[in-house]
């Protein structure tokens, strides 16, 4: 696993999402309350950028194009049209930055 810097810690507010491109992957990184999560950053339905979507109810991300929803901690697709789950990754803070571990 290689670690990749996402942004400065202060740039990611609680209840929000940002993303980072790692190689050919887009990774969405979330701060829910005080904990960080990371998932694939593109909707499994039609590849819309989830970082443009809305974090709902403290633990769901809604795709900005077709309103599919995913459970952020597990990556599980919970609203159609998405059917496939998102992969999840480890995200953490260190030295004032947000990081994600991706192969």
């Amino acid at each position: 696993m290689a670690r990749h810097r996402v942004c400065a810690s202060a740039e990611l507010e609680a209840g929000d999402v940002t993303d980072v491109v790692v190689g050919e992957k887009t990774i969405a990184v979330f701060r829910l309350r005080d904990k960080l999560y990371a998932t694939d950053g593109l909707c499994t339905h039609e590849q819309a950028c989830l970082a443009d979507g809305l974090v709902l109810d403290g633990e769901l991300i809604e795709c900005p194009k077709h309103n599919a929803r995913f459970h952020i901690p597990t990556g599980k697709a919970v609203r159609k049209p998405a059917k496939a789950d998102l992969a999840t990754y480890r995200a953490f803070e260190e030295s004032g930055s947000v990081w994600v571990e991706v192969e």
Binding site: C43, P64, K65, K80
Partner: protein, 336 residues
């Protein structure tokens, strides 16, 4: 032509601000859709009473009832997106009800509408193009009374109830969703057959007029709203400012269409609930083509355009883009 990479033009608006437009709540939709349901039931009861009195006043009241019933179209649209209410189960229940009133099962309708947002007015992909180029104007005229869509939708309910997967289904709906389509269609078909059964049993047309026909005699306004959304504009483009219209309407029509006349904004930001579209419009309108001032203004431009397209299918109304927007219009997602 396809939009598989899911990028589309969006306006220059900071994410923090956009999030305020996307936020969800139950109350605005409870008030709007609750009032709609209340008025529909009241008009239905009033029309039934007048029918029973054999009063000719029943006719205009039935017309009002039908127009209210047909407002199920934007209601099913908003709840189908899942944005109308914050609470998911309320969205689902109202979506089922409103889609049934439109003679649609909610599962196949959702997949068809998802495609409409992926491939808006992309010929051969978007099944919600109601004015192809060249247009079949008699079909459009019939559909002001639901006389094209209505029979086709009823037929689709019958076909799906029999467990048949159509060519269109194969293109739109994942195979493992078809079971839900079939059962959804059976329930909706049953809801339409029960009034027919009552009509036969009690030898009265009333149940049919109340529960089967209102979409037909009441759809004129909703179809006019639909005609104002995309027809006559450019097809096969990736920029929703060019294939969709925003139209100012009076407060009553605004209410009847659930603010869906801000249709450019809706396609740019499908996550923004209907009750926030007017505010969003005010925020981004300088980045969009000028809105039409009225429904009349739309049809004054649209009717000659459709007549032109009968002879020249490549014709389209060109919407003027603001200078700032033109920079962003090359198919790139904007900064949101």
């Amino acid at each position: 032509m396809s939009t598989d990479n899911a990028t589309w033009y969006t306006c220059d608006i900071p994410r923090k601000e956009l999030k305020t437009f996307m936020e969800r709540a139950d109350l605005p939709a409870v008030l709007h859709i609750g009032l709609w349901l209340l008025l529909t039931v009241a008009a239905g009861l009033g029309a039934t009473w007048l029918w029973d009195q054999k009063s000719l006043w029943a006719l205009p009241v039935f017309l009002v009832y039908g127009i209210l019933w047909a407002t199920s179209k934007p209601v099913s649209h908003e709840t189908g997106h899942g944005t109308a209410f914050r609470t998911p189960w309320i969205n689902t229940v109202v979506y089922f009800l409103a889609a049934a009133m439109e003679q649609k099962d909610m599962v196949s309708n959702r997949w068809q509408h998802a495609r409409h947002h992926s491939e808006t007015c992309i010929v051969g992909k978007d099944y919600e193009i109601i004015a192809p180029k060249p247009p079949k104007l008699w079909e459009n005229l019939l559909d002001f009374l639901y006389l094209k869509s209505g029979p086709l939708l009823l037929w689709a309910l019958v076909v799906h109830s029999l467990g048949i997967t159509t060519k269109k289904d194969k293109d739109l709906v994942p195979a493992d969703e078809m079971r839900a389509v079939f059962w959804g269609a059976r329930v909706v078909l049953l809801l339409h057959l029960v009034p027919v059964g009552f009509a036969i049993a009690f030898q009265t047309w009333l149940p049919i007029v109340l529960f089967v026909l209102p979409q037909f005699y009441g759809s004129i306004f909703q179809y006019a709203f639909s005609m104002a959304q995309h027809p006559g504009l450019q097809y096969n483009v990736l920029d929703h400012r060019l294939d969709s219209r925003t139209v100012y309407m009076n407060p009553l029509l605004d209410w009847m269409t659930l603010h869906m006349q801000y249709h450019v904004e809706h396609h740019l930001y499908p996550s923004v609930p209907f009750w926030q579209l007017k505010k969003l419009h005010q925020r981004v309108k300088d980045q969009l083509p000028p809105p039409y001032r009225s429904l009349t203004a739309v049809f004054a431009e649209l009717v000659p355009e459709l007549l032109r397209e009968r002879k020249n299918p490549s014709s389209a109304i060109q919407r003027p883009l603001p200078a700032q927007g033109e920079v962003n219009a090359s198919g790139n997602a904007g900064s949101n």
